[in-house]
């Protein structure tokens, strides 16, 4: 898929568009999975979230802003699905919990990934408030710009900057293993 040269002079435009669209969406899937997994820290739930996101994206492909970045758009859908899914999730967990047979599935899902344990930084990340966590991940790991991140999270850019600053500062203090007070932000005017 993707890189096949045009053997025919007149390829079916609809097929071509779909293939191109699929390829562009799929190019973003690894990053979406990483982001979902960082938020949920459960491989199954994370892939469920990505699936949810992709289905929504396919369903409203025509509503996408032409000029916008596809990746940012997908991240936004995923994040909103995550936030709006949490209420439903709680209900679902309650419902499913009533079925005895799902107990094994639940324990499997809650077992920590082995890769997590070696990464101390992820443990520290977990202790951040969710919105700081999402901001740090989008900017630092996924490489989104500040404006894109603001659009994904549905907040002003100023909020992204302050979450970034507070989140990083908090993570730094956790990593340096102390209750060391936050370094006062030097705002000296250079003249």
């Amino acid at each position: 898929m993707g890189g096949t040269p045009d053997a025919h002079a007149e390829p079916l435009p609809k097929d071509r568009m779909l293939t191109d669209r699929d390829a562009r969406i799929e190019a973003a899937i690894p990053a979406l999975r990483r982001f979902a997994w960082s938020l949920l820290r459960d491989p199954h739930a994370a892939d469920d979230l990505v699936q949810d996101c992709l289905e929504r994206a396919l369903g409203r492909w025509r509503l996408r802003r032409r000029d916008g970045d596809l990746r940012a758009w997908l991240f936004a859908i995923l994040y909103h699905a995550h936030v709006s899914g949490r209420r439903r999730e709680a209900r679902r967990a309650r419902l499913l919990g009533e079925f005895a047979g799902l107990a094994e599935q639940a324990t499997a899902a809650h077992a920590p990934d082995s890769a997590v344990q070696c990464a101390e930084v992820l443990q520290h990340l977990d202790s951040l408030p969710e919105e700081q966590r999402a901001t740090l991940l989008l900017v630092g790991v996924e490489g989104l710009g500040y404006e894109e991140t603001a659009r994904v999270l549905g907040v002003p850019v100023g909020t992204v900057m302050s979450r970034l600053s507070r989140g990083r500062e908090r993570l730094r203090r956790l990593t340096e293993g102390g209750g060391e007070p936050a370094a006062p932000v030097p705002l000296r005017v250079v003249r």
Partner: protein, 284 residues
């Protein structure tokens, strides 16, 4: 390069943007100069960058994993199409039901008693239902259950008559979910099963059949390699469908018929008594 005095004072956002390498050249030079003069700020910025790198490498494995098949766009698109088709089909079935009802009334008045579609084999709709649900992802189920008894309670309530959902674990199939369908004879239920440790799907279809006399197991082949075993007990019609060889499916169908004949299992009463026997409907 711009003179330092043309630059606004350094702010926290500059330091963050420095970490993220999002400063333009003029600003970058300005921030560098500032950091050179402020070792404490420089240390913070270094820590932020190290932290970002640590996060990236801790999460890198996730992005380098191969994409699971179920997340392939082509696969998802097919699933969406199917779901849309099913909704359409549901609506069409509802219309059909009304038409059939009207037609039946008209025919009953005329005294015509023949079957509605003489050339379709009996219970052919079971194969149609199987075809739709067997290919569907697990998520949009009407009822997700781990237990045949839960599904039986749910269908009993929906079909307004006692329904037994066979426990086919001994035959190697475990229930996945239940769906409610319209049928010309009233609401019908389909329970999808999945082979334990495999992905063969098998469906158990049940619908009211008050006018049909009891009839032992029979077999029907359907296009696409689907085989249906069906039977009637004078009250309900049943069918077991899968894309399996006849001999193999026959065993499962016999087991299902035996279970159905044996009647409801023990714990049905405790559940009904709890008052909260309401279906657990998963929307979404």
């Amino acid at each position: 390069m711009t003179e330092p005095r043309d630059q606004p004072p350094i702010g926290e956002d500059d330091l963050q943007a420095y970490v993220d390498e999002r400063l333009d050249a003029a600003r970058l030079a300005h921030v560098r100069r500032y950091l050179a003069e402020h070792p404490e700020a420089a240390a913070r910025v270094r820590a932020f960058a190290a932290q970002r790198d640590a996060l990236r490498s801790a999460l890198a494995h996730k992005a380098s994993e191969p994409i699971p098949a179920r997340l392939r766009v082509a696969h998802l698109r097919a699933g969406l199409r199917q779901r849309r088709w099913r909704q359409l089909r549901g609506a069409a079935a509802a219309v059909l039901l009304v038409l059939l009802g009207a037609g039946a009334g008209w025919l009953a008045r005329g005294g015509w008693m023949g079957p509605a579609a003489p050339d379709a084999p009996p219970m052919a709709e079971a194969a149609a239902a199987h075809r739709v649900f067997a290919q569907e992802a697990r998520r949009p189920a009407v009822l997700v259950a781990a237990d045949a008894d839960d599904l039986a309670d749910w269908l009993t309530e929906r079909l307004r008559t006692p329904v037994v959902v066979p426990d086919l674990l001994a035959a190697g199939f475990r229930p996945l979910d239940g769906h409610l369908l319209p049928s010309p004879h009233g609401p019908a239920g389909v329970v999808m099963y999945e082979r334990v440790g495999g992905d063969t799907r098998l469906s158990f279809y049940v619908r009211p059949a008050p006018g049909t006399p009891a009839e032992p197991l029979r077999c029907a082949d359907h296009p696409g390699g689907y085989v249906t075993y069906y039977w009637f007990d004078g009250r309900l019609g049943y069918a077991v469908t899968a894309a399996l060889p006849r001999e193999e499916l026959r065993e499962v169908a016999f087991a299902a018929a035996r279970e159905v004949r044996a009647g409801p299992r023990r714990r049905a009463d405790t559940r009904m008594a709890s008052g909260q026997a309401s279906p657990r409907v998963c929307v979404g």
